[in-house]
Amino acid sequence: MRKQEMSLDGYEGSAGGVTRREFLKFCTGIAATLGVPAMGMQIAEAVTSKQRPPVIWLSAQECTGCTESLLRSTHPTLETLILNTISLDYHETLCAGAGHQAEASKQASMKANKGKYLLVVDGSIPTKDGGIYCKIANKTVLAHLHEAAAGAAAIIAIGSCASWGGIPSSGPNPTGAVGVSKIIKDRPIVTIPGCPPNPYNFLATVLYFLTFNRLPELDSKGRPKFAYNRLIHENCERRPHFDAGRFAIEFGDDGHRQGWCLYKLGCKGPETYANCPAILFGDVGPGAWPVGTGHPCFGCTEEGIGFTKGIHELAELKNVTPPTTYPRITEDKGKGATVTAAALVGGLVGAAAVAGVKFARKLPESSDEASGGRSDKER
């Protein structure tokens, strides 16, 4: 413990106004998001190492929402991240330079840090017609991606667009937009879907990579499990209303005003994996997430649901659990016989009875005719 404190002593001056206490608080906070206890110091050491890890950020067909979301993170603030934690060598929105300068900086960094830098991609990649629908510095973003991915240690696809195509890939998809994992196959890819994604899921992933030099545990869709292994439905603050059968039926009705479950308004919480209800958005306290404000979740982190299913469409429940009602000791079952079934069974019984009577009539009257006669002949 003592030694670790010593090694951080030099940090205060270089933090640009951040006190040592604030800095350690941030590291511990990130450790909590990740669900790795007592790792705050380790993260602190990783991010104060002399060489700040280089990050190249490519933007493809995107709305800059992911970056905007990141700009609004408060622990750490973006400037702490890019000035003290990582070395953001290229980012179209945040670059100090422009034009040829920016491109040169990117090329220099990619060359110097080959095999070591982290590549972040936001926006979907157009593939139709050779990818001409998104060009930067007179080169398609498809070519940029191939070039940058070749030397990347790992790739983080931030936002639903980079994860699986997002908005550009739904509907007619005129540009042939796809996610990063459809193009790059030979590099580890983490996806942080969401529209926009929660900045802390991104920051936690980056810092996990810096601290342990490996990627966090991922689910089958490449999403870090610390953030995406639970359904929104499981941690939703409105879940008790679902279990009790209290639903808002339309916007503004009594149930909606009282904060009842939004499932019947089309909430996709029961089929969407994300930690929104647990970590919320914007650091402004409870209720600051879509469902908290009264709007049904529309499933932005889930391929095939966000931007694909209608907002009013009912979610398919991924895990169905019992409600808070109970069956009685003996329950009535079935709906009674239908007229057709009764007629059919009655008909069969009648036919069997008639057949039995007819069969009995055909038999000889007494045993003498049959067995007596036979014994005579046999003798």
Binding site: Y263, V320, P322, Y326, R328, I329, S367, R374
Partner: protein, 337 residues
């Protein structure tokens, strides 16, 4: 035609009578005894809070599909009404009057958990014509092996607790019943229901120990404090301090039908909880097995019967009938006469 009307009616009457014959009361064989290390569960209804964590955990552990209320189109909840081919474990509720207080027979309510009781002398194992239903000689778990099952459903009718259920809604239905999570126990884990029970209402342990624990609870006065174990009796989970409820002074499953490995404690009479109470202290197989199993012993009696029938047909086949048709076995008949 060898059959005449009198014989036909006689046979029919005899067949009817055979079904109604009262079996002798003397046991055909000694009742079976519990394996010394049999595992079981003590379900204390007074501890159950009806959270249904066990119902959900059971479905997950055994990969059972949810069951939706047939009358409703919204597939929102798993709402089984009883044990079925999709539900191996269920929490039911007893309610009376104004349902004011838990664990009270009049104007009260109580939860009850229903699943296989893992009888010491199981009727389903006795009734199974193949060896699809087995009782483990060590743990005493009554298991069903779908790969041996011929789908006759005798176990469904034989069980006095109405536990084994058939998947009626599929073309290749199977028998489904609680196997006490034998697959989890093999890995050293607890049965899913005992594992998740937050209060220890479903308590896993050796039947011997559970019986002792139950008798300790029964011997205390209502209102007295008691330390309730959770998960596994004698395990290392935190216990909880509670008070003894106004128990029915009986441990259900101790003697009923030769004893069961799942034991029940309740403050509401057991017959109100849907458990059969007017039952002998020996398992039904102790009576029926003598007859039933002798009839089919080594398949020899059925073979002998078949041989007899073949002989009769053979003997009678040669007789010319009234139409004057040429008898097929004239030669044989001549030799005989």
């Amino acid at each position: 035609m060898a059959l005449n009307r009198r014989d036909f009616l006689k046979v029919a009457a005899a067949a009817g009578a055979a079904g109604a014959v009262d079996t002798a009361h003397a046991l055909q064989r000694e009742p079976k005894t519990m394996p010394p290390n049999a595992v079981g569960m003590l379900y204390d209804a007074t501890q159950c809070i009806g959270c249904k964590a066990c119902v959900a955990a059971c479905k997950e552990a055994n990969h059972m599909p949810p069951e939706h209320d047939a009358g409703k189109s919204e597939l929102m909840w798993d709402v089984p009404l009883d044990l079925s081919g999709k539900t191996l474990n269920i929490i039911k509720v007893y309610q009376d009057g104004n349902v004011a207080q838990k664990d009270r027979e009049i104007n009260g309510y109580s939860f009850v958990k229903r699943h296989c009781l893992h009888c010491v002398d199981p009727s389903c194992v006795s009734a199974c014509p193949v060896s699809a239903m087995t009782k483990d000689p060590k743990t005493g778990i009554v298991e069903h092996h779908a790969d041996r099952c011929i789908g006759c459903r005798y176990c469904v009718y034989a069980c006095p607790f109405a536990v084994p259920k058939f998947e009626y809604d599929g073309p290749f239905g199977q028998i489904q019943k609680c196997q006490f999570c034998a697959h989890l126990q093999a890995k050293g884990q607890l049965p899913a229901c005992c594992d998740v029970c937050p209060t220890g209402a479903s308590l896993f342990g050796l039947v011997e120990d559970l019986k002792k624990e139950a008798h300790v609870r029964l011997s205390k006065k209502p209102g007295e404090s008691h330390r309730f174990a959770r998960g596994k009796l004698g395990g290392n989970r935190p216990t909880q301090d509670g008070t003894i409820a106004n128990y029915q002074k009986h441990l259900y499953g101790d003697k009923e039908l030769g004893g069961t490995q799942i034991l029940y404690l309740s403050a509401v009479p057991f017959e109100k909880m849907g458990l059969p109470t007017n039952v002998p202290e020996y398992g039904y197989p102790a009576i029926t097995e003598g007859i039933q199993h002798t009839l089919y012993k080594g398949m020899l009696p059925p073979l002998a019967l078949l041989a007899g029938l073949v002989y009769l047909v053979h003997r009678n086949a040669g007789k010319p009938d009234e139409s004057g048709e040429t008898p097929r076995k004239t030669k044989v008949k001549k030799e005989k006469s």
